[in-house]
Symmetry: C2
Subunit: 615 residues, 2 copies
């Protein structure tokens, strides 16, 4: 039954031979790899404004220079990543580049940071997508929809998780249509909006605004905090460098030019939206939870169909952005698992050829975040971006080291670009860490070293197991000479017959039936019935003053086991197998308990001999 | 380690021989058995007022006649239960009386109703106890304490659960002191309060009151609803009849007179508090969540030490009331389990001689209720009392039937009393069901038949198992002639050596090693290494196009198993036993999966042969 439900939800298994690697054109690749980066314009401008508003209305104008600074940072990081793309045509994620050039520990730091960030990507993107939908609903007279934001977010995560367990083809229309509709509609909004504003002046956004008290003075601290908040616009920019092998030949060249296109589009949209927000006086609204993008869109285009298209395309591209994390997280986890830093389960492909365990883990943790933060993406942002910038810095530093090591043609220019990238992202990382520390970033900064410790201890364990399992010096197995068997009986009934039979066939001369005395009357009856029954297997009764089954059994087994040194002792447990799975709950779970307790006993094998109930 | 934590929390095991039955004097018995009934005065008057307030301030005066009606009901039910006490000196709970006199099905209905009610007793009492504490805190300038009501409630449930797992002695000071302090302080409050009020007039309660809109018209419906709400005062009145054997001889006589005393005290306190609430204008306050009892107490005695004593004694007796459900629920569950209507686990006594599983189940479900209702006892009341009244009606009807059957001396008088009790509680039950139906009582009325169905299907299952297990016609076990063994290998390493050795010792000529091909390269390497290694056990490679371990193995086992009819097939799984328990997570859980999948295969025995890792 469990199997049928799984088949229905996840689909039929796919054979290993059907694994394939499709190559993407630049047009499709832009759609596949850029949804995470481009979708961040849905919240990055709002994030800046949500900090500036703490300094009062006068501070809002600072959003323009701050956005310009972030745009410069975007261009520098993009140039820096073009180097990585050229150097790693087989894909150069932060973990691989940092581990290869800086050593294990830096690779693991990058990996831990990225895993956390992928979880946040899903939670933030889904929450922002839900905000786009609830803003649309509020504008269209259904403000109650926002009360179900958490539920809608969880359904979206469930949907994306199931889709990925089935296996999503990373190609074609599914990605291209919403991405290009989003790009087109946002660019239309920006160009039409700016044009109209310049010609006729900007109309202010009409909305009920809660009174937000001024809690911060305008100064360098406020600017840095707002800058840090806006840096979430950079998340996802590294996606193309991870996926170089998916491009058509020449891979590196196509990937590099796609990256340039992506950043150009991203910068235009981000600056345009920030400009429009300022011109129309759009600001984060804690009362209606309407997004800044929705405020701008409905002010410029009215509540009609164009507004609907913008909001739906925003919601869709945000779901796609979450979806990219579903490719990245399981892949990174499988790399870590392959290198023995995570449990093996993360590197085995499921029925549908996907890394099912990584997908499930990502779905679980991101759902927890959505519940914890009540689907409020702006509240999650202080945790976000730290991980990405750690990965940026380590990956660019690794590239610098690589240039100096390999000294390929034109390496000085490459090293200069990567040094600039590394230094700039390192500075921003410090800014992020300092300004966001008390707002939640400390959680991430505690989690990353804990993850690195976990990775290392898992690695040590696997290493220790491998050395212990080496066959060096081991003899070929020879059969044991003596077999002793103990059958644990709970009464005299058909269920013990197969167990006694099995025990006598593996240890013909050496079988004892054992019964634990929990009730003196019942025990006396059983002993008499055993004699009447005429079974020639001797029955041993163990006393148990504290009504425990395990302790007396344990002591008896040790006594029997110590009689001979060259034997093996098999403890046989009669086990009922009911006709229906739920009936298992109705039979004492002592079998499982006994097995668990005896597992750590060397030289003892525990065997359940089933008795199948017919109905 | 798990064992050590358990020892610390629950204490050392107690030997069976130490089971004892202490006899209680009437003074102690009143304390032990009456906390549930007496503590209901902490919320019953408030429950009445919380309904009447919906009809506006003019309706509040109706509380006095309604309370008088409930007092009459209390006296009738008490008289009726004196009959039960006389007829069942060994204890006559609703389940036993109804089952014996009306038949299985009525007994099960009473049992289901009571189990639900015991869970509610814990949730309601603990929540009301927390309300007493938070009211005290608010009066003493710490209103923030009430924001942690749920957490405090959960800690209390955890505490009571642990105390009961250790085993609470139902005797002595623990019960007597708080109960008598409570009785004394409430009676003092009532007599002093009424005296002062009559002499000098009553001071109104000073408090901030939220505006409660009038939503109901004053009429018969409102009166019935308020009456139904007040009927929660009757919960717990049946406790003495369950516990007759615990009294000193003559048991029945002592129990009956204790019941009379208890009802006298209960009626005085209940009527007195209702009168004072009306005189001082105390009403349920949704803003401060201060209890009506707290309002009265601080108005009469001021915020000083007497007020403190009343609030603490109230909180304590409510915790004791919850504690009585911890005796009743596990006992009833053990009766049901003994009669095969619940899983056997409920009738086995744990280390400390208590029915641990019943205690854990009660703690779990009541904690869920506290979270679900946010520790608001007034909101839970519509679900409460229905179960008790079902049990009252069935138990009294059973008594009527018994009188007519046995016709003991003076049976006509007894039958008349019980008939009156049965009719009256049946009428009240209908009133409760109708007035509370849409306020949550429907949940209980759906749950009870579901529980009865569950009891019956569990009973049918155990019956069917017993008949299938009968030894009638079964032969004595004879050893099997032929043994085949399959060893599932995951590679060539030390871990498979003990498994091969074991397999060869139970089936010397008939062992096959089996490997499932999940990766063609690895498989080829393994086959070569197997040949180089020189082990004479043949290696069979199974193809698995869908990367499943189970399906190919399953098919192969069926093929091998079908070769002979008089053999037994043992599938041997090499199992790593790591040095630390948490390291289990790092090894593939496929062994468990394979065991589960093969469990339903007749004629196949699955054995894990452990390989112990040293570190």
């Amino acid at each position: 039954m469990v199997g049928q439900i799984k088949r229905f939800l996840v689909g039929k298994p796919i054979a290993t031979e059907h694994q394939h690697n499709e190559r993407l054109s630049r047009i499709t690749a832009l759609a596949v790899f850029s949804s995470d980066a481009l979708s961040s314009v849905a919240y990055a401008s709002e994030a800046i404004l949500s900090i500036l508003i703490l300094g009062g209305a006068a501070a809002l104008g600072l959003s323009l220079p701050i956005a310009a600074g972030i745009a410069v940072l975007l261009v520098v990081v993009a140039f820096s990543y073009r180097q990585t793309i050229r150097a790693y045509p087989k894909g150069g994620g932060g973990y691989i580049v940092a581990r290869e050039n800086l050593g294990n520990i830096y690779g693991l730091i990058a990996a831990g940071a990225l895993l956390i960030d992928y979880v946040l990507t899903v939670a933030v993107s889904i929450s922002a997508g839900v905000a786009a939908i609830t803003s649309l609903a509020s504008t269209w007279g259904a403000p109650w929809v926002k009360d179900y934001a958490v539920e809608i977010g969880l359904v979206c995560i469930l949907f994306v998780t199931l889709a990925n367990l089935r296996g999503v083809k990373e190609s074609g229309v599914i990605f291209a249509v919403p991405t290009y509709v989003f790009i087109a509609s946002i660019l239309a909004l920006v160009s039409y909006g700016i044009g109209v504003d310049l010609l006729f002046g900007a109309q202010p956004v009409v909305q009920d605004l809660p009174e937000v008290p001024v809690s911060e003075t305008i100064g360098i601290w406020l600017v840095l905090r707002a800058f840090a908040a806006g840096c979430t616009a950079l998340t996802g920019i590294e996606a193309i460098s991870d996926g170089v092998p998916a491009f058509k030949v020449p891979e590196s060249k196509n990937a590099a030019s796609t990256l340039t296109w992506m950043v150009t589009i991203l910068v235009s949209m981000f600056l345009g939206i920030t400009w429009l927000a300022h011109a129309h006086g759009a600001i984060p609204n804690e009362l209606t939870h309407e997004t800044v993008l929705s405020q701008i869109a409905r002010t410029i285009f009215g509540n009609g169909p164009i507004y609907f298209v913008i909001q739906s395309a925003t919601a869709l591209i945000l779901v796609l952005a979450a979806n990219t994390a579903y490719a990245d997280f399981p892949r990174l986890a499988s790399f870590l698992s392959r290198d023995r830093f995570l449990p093996r389960q993360f590197s085995s492909r499921g029925d549908r050829l996907v890394f099912s365990n990584g997908i499930l883990a990502l779905g679980f943790f991101s759902a927890m975040l959505v519940v914890l933060f009540q689907a409020n993406e702006i509240a999650m942002l202080p945790l976000y971006a730290i991980g990405v910038f750690i990965s940026f810095t380590l990956s660019q530093s690794g590239m610098v080291r690589r240039h100096f090591r390999i000294k390929e043609e034109g390496w000085r220019r490459g090293a200069a670009i990567n040094t600039m990238g590394a230094v700039l992202t390192a500075v921003v990382l410090v800014v992020l860490a300092v300004t966001k520390f008390t707002h939640g970033a400390w959680v991430v900064m505690v989690l990353i070293p804990m993850l690195v410790l976990l990775f290392n201890s898992i690695n040590r364990h696997y290493g220790s197991v491998a050395s212990q399992l080496s066959l060096e010096g081991a003899d070929l197995p020879i059969p044991l000479r003596r077999h002793t068997s103990i059958v644990l009986v709970s009464g005299i009934h058909r269920g013990v017959l197969p167990a006694l039979q099995y025990a006598r066939s593996i240890a013909p001369d050496n079988v004892t039936a054992v019964y634990v005395n929990l009730d003196a009357d019942q025990t006396a009856k059983l002993q008499q019935r055993w004699i009447d029954w005429g079974c020639d297997v001797p029955l041993v009764v163990l006393e148990s003053p504290y009504r425990s089954l395990i302790t007396p059994l344990f002591n008896y087994i040790q006594e029997v086991d110590s009689r001979y040194t060259d034997d093996v002792l098999t403890v046989v447990l009669p086990e009922f197998v009911p006709a229906h799975w739920w009936e298992h709950l109705l039979h004492n779970q002592t079998g499982i308990l006994i097995k668990t307790a005896l597992m750590f006993n060397k030289g003892v094998v525990v065997t359940s001999v089933p008795y199948h109930l017919g109905r």
